[in-house]
Symmetry: C2
Subunit: 340 residues, 2 copies
Amino acid sequence: MSLDDRKLEVLRAIVEDYVETQEPVGSKALVERHQLGVSPATVRNDMAVLEEEGYIRQPHTSAGRVPTDAGYRLFVDRLSKVKALSPAERRAIERFLIGAVDLDDVVHRTVRLLAQLTRQVAVVQYPSLARSSVRHLELVPISTTRLMLVMIADTGRVEQRLVELPGPVPPEDVTDLRRRVNEKLAGKKLADTPPLVQGLVDDCAPESRATMACLASVLLETLVERSEERLALAGTANLTRGGVLDFQGTLRPVLEALEEEVILLKLIGDLEPSTTRVRIGDENEIDNLRSASVVSTGYGPGATIVGGLGVLGPTRMDYPGTIATVRAVARYVGDLLAQN
Amino acid sequence: MSLDDRKLEVLRAIVEDYVETQEPVGSKALVERHQLGVSPATVRNDMAVLEEEGYIRQPHTSAGRVPTDAGYRLFVDRLSKVKALSPAERRAIERFLIGAVDLDDVVHRTVRLLAQLTRQVAVVQYPSLARSSVRHLELVPISTTRLMLVMIADTGRVEQRLVELPGPVPPEDVTDLRRRVNEKLAGKKLADTPPLVQGLVDDCAPESRATMACLASVLLETLVERSEERLALAGTANLTRGGVLDFQGTLRPVLEALEEEVILLKLIGDLEPSTTRVRIGDENEIDNLRSASVVSTGYGPGATIVGGLGVLGPTRMDYPGTIATVRAVARYVGDLLAQN
DNA sequence: ACTGGCACTCTGTCATCCGGAGTGCCAAAG
DNA sequence: CTTTGGCACTCCGGATGACAGAGTGCCAGT
């Protein structure tokens, strides 16, 4: 059975009212607040059908209706258009992001901005190393048998690792190493480096091969293979808005999930489709987040995507507004990155 | 009126029981659980005195007693000895901290370890730039009019800034700049650099002076003056242990405070006395944290202190255990830093 | 196909009640 | 002077019941 237009309209009204008031919405209140042009009794019939189809449910007999996850899904997919941002919001975004001094700063500002605008928990992934290219590799002698390897990526990320050398290496050899490493790797996608790094070691004169091998293993192991993704988080205090009503009584599981970087990355990290993604309640694979929704998208300079960002909140959230904000922030951040 | 030994013993018993059970403790239960050698009635008299003096209070008439902030304070100062760590804890600390690949990694591991061991919210400050020395300054050309300035500090911190140059600068000039900057600044305390940096500009040949001035201003402004302190946070989910009983009903204010880096720095950042500091409830200047206690200490290689770390929890916390853990972790981190 | 009416159900709240735990005080004992 | 046992009193927390309000489902009528 397909739902006619009015039933969809009723669903939309229920979602909007419930999101706003946080209370189950009844037929009477609905016809009063929206111009549906029909009587409560009619709405009740429609509601019965919507409930049958699984889009809404009653917390208990003779209470109003509340959207189900499926109801929100239908709402997001077919009933809502993306809200335009208010000029105030646009200005807030611009003002917030100018004046960032480095990548850390950009990411921190972004995540706070996002949390503030959406009034939810915000997550921003640092530009992924896997999607970055090497801009420059620097070797800094710390002692005769220790180097600090600093990698600067085109996305602005800077990573450093301590390298323990097998034996003392004189400064002029370091200069030589640096030159050779950069010649080979600068400008290359990090993902493409493994064979090149191997080549570096192979081409090495025997006397410096051990040193180069050390360097190579640190490079490969900690920067390419275990290429650690970094995250910033903000707005956890927003979880307490709306009392303990959202998240079925306890923030515990949600806070626990937010502590796990791996989980967060799963949430915002699937960057394949360049469009905004919305995961509602049960659609999250993480059990702890069954009562939460996540709106996420990728960002990056131009059309490429180097990282993800998003927000997490109760399933009862303002989807159109949140989606609009997340997209806008992602675009601004992308532009900002493009300027480097 | 001074408190005799038995009254102090009663106070200790009350604190210990309350911390454990989370429930107001009455005179009867007290004599049963501890060998006080006196009757409940006697204990009641002592309690009356302790209440008079402000060390305990009754949530309501005819309920048991609960320690006040002053009571906890007295307990911490005079009634508790620092617990020795269990071998299991020691092992956990060691196992957790070996294998860290860089400073970020050390800090993150530390903060998680601390949160896990104390079962509270943990905060770790990155080694303060203000207390670090310059190990090396690196200049990486990004384009002809842009440099990336990378500063490597002896504490392992690495900071990078983008420098917009007034005009194109050829690579060999960059090499020269790099050499001059390092000759002057390497090994110096960051706090001592301002006059040296000024000297660098003054000594510059006129044709490169504008470039050097640019560099100098970025250095001074963003690394020395606005030397940003960084923090890591973990264990917020622990706030939900003990139900909503701690923190008088809502986590809101606490979560809000935890979002503010400035506030956190105030909490753990006062590094003057090298000993552990405990702030109980009202002793926190931050209103939001009036129902929380903070245990913090400084850490650093050897006897010097380069940063702070600590935990935050309900006033009802296991002070001896927490203090011991915080100290131990700080010592281990210090040792780890000393190895670099 | 929609509407008005009506009986029914369930929640949330308020008042009341009662057992339990704990206190404060007092008089007696050490 | 300190400690102890006894006793009346207070207050919390849970259980119970009554009740108004909101909302529904269903049915007959338009």
